[in-house]
């Protein structure tokens, strides 16, 4: 049997979920034996590949780039997992939503800047009006709340999915965690 193809994606989050993923420690070796990590901030692939079995998404959808990325990821992934509170609820990135995007830009690029203040119109992707959960844009197959979900929870989810089962995380993690 060929190895499963898994990927991880980092949208608007703090990378804490990826840290928690790495916290699986030696259990990563078992996962590596059963699956190839074909795309991730942790590996060097530049393009999200075709035919991915499982993708773990960390982070909310906050910018035009996030939106563009998540649509491609969804198209090329069999099982899409919202990993962590930012992906599931928008969490901390969503806290800007009540203020409006203009206030966020002004704070970041004008009020706190001494050299050449101004909102960038190239290189940095434009922010969406609000930062929102992944499932408000694309279908999500598995939800794993937690800030971050524990390494044990992530290990359970990945192992179950690789074994062809549907993980039930209700008792293992929760909003906030």
């Amino acid at each position: 049997m060929s190895k499963a193809r898994i990927a991880t994606v980092w949208l608007d989050g703090c990378s804490g979920c990826h840290m928690s993923f790495l916290d699986m420690d030696e259990r990563l070796l078992d996962i590596a034996a059963a699956a190839d990590l074909v795309y991730s901030p942790l590996v060097d692939a530049k393009e999200f590949p075709e035919n991915v079995d499982v993708t773990l998404v960390e982070g909310a959808v906050s910018s035009e780039e996030d939106l563009h990325k998540i649509k491609i990821v969804r198209e090329r992934t069999k099982i899409l997992v919202s990993l962590g509170d930012c992906a599931v609820t928008a969490n901390v990135p969503g806290m800007r939503n009540s203020f409006g995007v203009k206030a966020v830009y002004d704070r970041a690029y004008r009020e706190n800047v001494t050299f050449d203040p101004g909102i960038p119109d190239q290189v940095v992707p434009a922010l969406l009006p609000t930062s929102r959960p992944v499932h408000e844009f694309v279908n999500v197959d598995v939800f794993v709340p937690g800030c971050p979900p524990s390494a044990d929870t992530i290990h359970y989810v990945v192992s179950e999915l690789l074994a062809g089962r549907n993980p039930d995380v209700a008792l293992k993690t929760r909003f906030g965690s």
Partner: protein
């Protein structure tokens, strides 16, 4: 002369149980270790049936009734945990999550929150409705306490404990529908309230992180609720 209590017998989830006639379905369920979720009801305060999480099915009635304000009746057959009820409860709780900004990860009550715990217990892993992300105020004008309207679910426990137990009636509800919010005095800053006695009962009955002690950081606010049944019991005995 001491009144003889009238006992009613009923079935809850197929179990034969009994309660005094003035007791509610929730009272009897609780006495018998049957879990019925709720966020507004609290032992020691009057019941208002606001959160609707304790809705139960009663045989012969199409309408779901809130267990906290429905008195037991002879021959009643109650179901507390059908799939239909679970669906409604999850829906209610999910709507509460979308209504304000409940960011558990950075909340003072993270890990000690009745709403967060209930979401887990009801198996909620995500919310099916679009979040509103409203702009809500935080009033930190009081010397010891803070009200964060982002976390308020309008259970009105604070309003009831302040009125019924402390007797101050500093808290009340202003506005209607989605605009409703809890206020101190006539919507004045809590810190300049002339009626607040700074007793802190409201803080400790609050099921979420909406009311907390100043200086508490993420996950540090643990509520002590044990005082309430004692207070009410002692007052009854003194009557």
């Amino acid at each position: 002369m001491r009144q003889v209590p009238t006992v009613k017998t009923l079935k809850i989830n197929g179990r034969d149980l009994s309660g005094r006639q003035e007791e509610t379905i929730l009272d009897v369920a609780r006495q018998n270790g049957i879990f019925v979720p709720r966020l507004c009801e609290m032992d020691g305060l009057t019941d208002v049936g606001a959160c609707r999480l304790c809705l139960v099915e009663i045989k012969g009635q199409n309408k779901l009734l809130p267990a906290c304000v429905t008195a037991v009746e002879e021959g009643m057959e109650v179901t507390t945990d059908s799939e239909r009820l679970q669906n409604y409860r999850r829906m209610i709780l999910e709507l509460l999550f979308t209504e304000r900004n409940h960011v558990c990860s950075v909340c003072v009550s993270n890990g000690h929150c009745e709403m967060q715990n209930l979401a887990q217990r009801l198996g909620i892993t995500h919310v099916h409705f679009p979040y509103r992300y409203p702009k809500e105020d935080v009033d930190a004008s009081h010397e010891r306490f803070v009200i964060d309207h982002n976390r308020c679910i309008l259970c009105t426990r604070c309003v009831r404990v302040c009125d019924e137990i402390e007797g101050a009636h500093t808290w009340d509800v202003m506005g209607r529908g989605i605009e409703a919010k809890v206020i101190t005095d006539l919507n004045e800053p809590w810190g300049s309230s002339e009626t607040c006695t700074t007793c802190g009962k409201c803080v400790h009955v609050c099921p979420t992180g909406a009311l907390f002690e100043k200086g508490r950081s993420v996950a540090e606010m643990m509520k002590r609720r044990q005082f309430l049944p004692y207070l009410t019991l002692m007052r009854k005995e003194n009557e």
